[in-house]
Symmetry: C2
Subunit: 256 residues, 2 copies
């Protein structure tokens, strides 16, 4: 039997420790091809490169695994992987991450890691974004590894619904402290932001984004609740942003 083809990407860049962990896990399950950004792309969301050419360079940084670094965004990487690197070969699974830092709640919108997974799901490729709730470069991914393995195995064995993707977030806990997996909805949390204001060497003003993540969603079925209570959160996510519930209250628009 042919081994399933697994595409690995991320947004922290191909040199980040998190993607190395994911490559090492994925190679046990199939043929792995890596296409990832050549530089950090955090916060790139679903950005694509339209007005500029993209570069793609084969690199030898994961022993025995085909890997390419790309000058574009995480979403660009998935598009290039599908059409150029893999020449439309069927991809069994796309995994993105493991992100240094959580992508729970509305961070799915800002995250390049999750947007890459979303892009794969738009192409009807099963996809999973993995993130660890630890922003540091030397974050300890080890306690999450057995769980990432289990989820990947489940995903390869189980048919996903068309266009579905999983947003998986791992709490910063020891192996003994992780209580298991929890299927969740996205918490309705917010960034409370501000800008650091300063003057550059020429005396011109600049503004630098800074903020704090605040969860006022009290639900015990959310990803934030799961993470704060020792669980790995899994949010099945999708690209249909239609607010069906709001339809009836807006019917008046059709009479204008």
């Amino acid at each position: 039997m042919e081994k399933p083809l697994i595409l690995v990407t991320n947004d922290d860049g191909i040199a980040a420790p998190g993607i190395r962990i994911l490559v090492d896990i994925a190679r046990a399950f199939g043929e792995v091809v890596v296409v990832a950004p050549d530089s950090p792309q955090s916060g790139q969301g679903h950005a694509i490169t339209i007005h500029d050419p993209l570069r793609l360079k084969k690199v030898n940084i994961f022993s025995g695994v085909e890997a390419w670094e790309c000058s574009g965004t995480p979403v660009d990487c998935v598009k290039l992987a599908k059409h150029v690197v893999l020449k439309d070969r069927p991809i069994a699974l796309c995994v993105s991450g493991i992100n240094h830092g959580t992508n729970a709640s509305i961070n799915i919108l800002y995250s390049g890691t999750l947007s890459a997974a979303m892009e794969a799901s738009l192409e009807d490729i099963k996809s999973i974004g993995f993130s660890l709730d630890d922003f540091s470069f030397d974050a300890d991914f080890k306690p999450g590894i057995p769980w990432v393995e289990k989820i990947m195995q489940f995903a390869l064995a189980q048919p996903f619904e068309k266009g579905n993707l999983l947003n998986v977030n791992i709490p910063k806990l020891s192996a003994a402290e992780i209580r298991g997996l929890r299927l969740c909805r996205q918490a309705d949390a917010r960034w409370v932001e501000n800008f650091m204001e300063g003057r550059d060497p020429n005396g011109q003003p600049y503004y630098w984004l800074t903020g704090e993540f605040v969860n006022s969603d009290q639900g015990e079925d959310t990803d934030i609740w799961a993470l704060r209570n020792g669980y790995i959160s899994i949010v099945p996510s999708m690209h249909d942003l239609t607010n069906y519930k709001a339809m009836s209250s807006l019917k008046g628009l059709e009479q204008l």
Copy 2:
């Protein structure tokens, strides 16, 4: 009575004709403040600038209207508008566009115009993204103007649900041909893409995104159907990407 404060932004850049139309419409309804990118930002999705400082410059290009150009993405513009320019004054409405080119269906994910509107809705600001199905710089926005006015008036008068935004797309038709407004769901359409491959002056390969938008969603309740049948489409959209329907088929994950 104090005039409502209306924030105007876009992704084609502050010099695009489409935003000028929107500013002219909005000024009849309230106090208008413009914060828009200083360069085209199409395809930026929900990207934000984390690792670099942002610039903000007051410009005098809309007679009698306070306007600022920003070095960042459309989402950066909304954040800077709220916290720096408007110092957290209550914003009655955020309108983004009018985009040169449609943002129907899944283009809501790629679009800077809609992501800016989405960012405002995350802050519980009523918000609307407007797009015209014509990519050209000298697109004719006139036939859509009375409809944009009606929608803006409706939005200011009617309480939206928290976190809701409207994705409005206008077909490229004459005033007589536009049949009215249609409340829709987001069509499940796709980009069928490829890359133009070439060699740069140094002989190095490059890849340039190209693609065709294909709709295989046969529903007559979609935005694509509405546009193709002479209607202005309005999709109420939201930031909760949870796929609730997929929950039951994934329950096995919690037993791993």
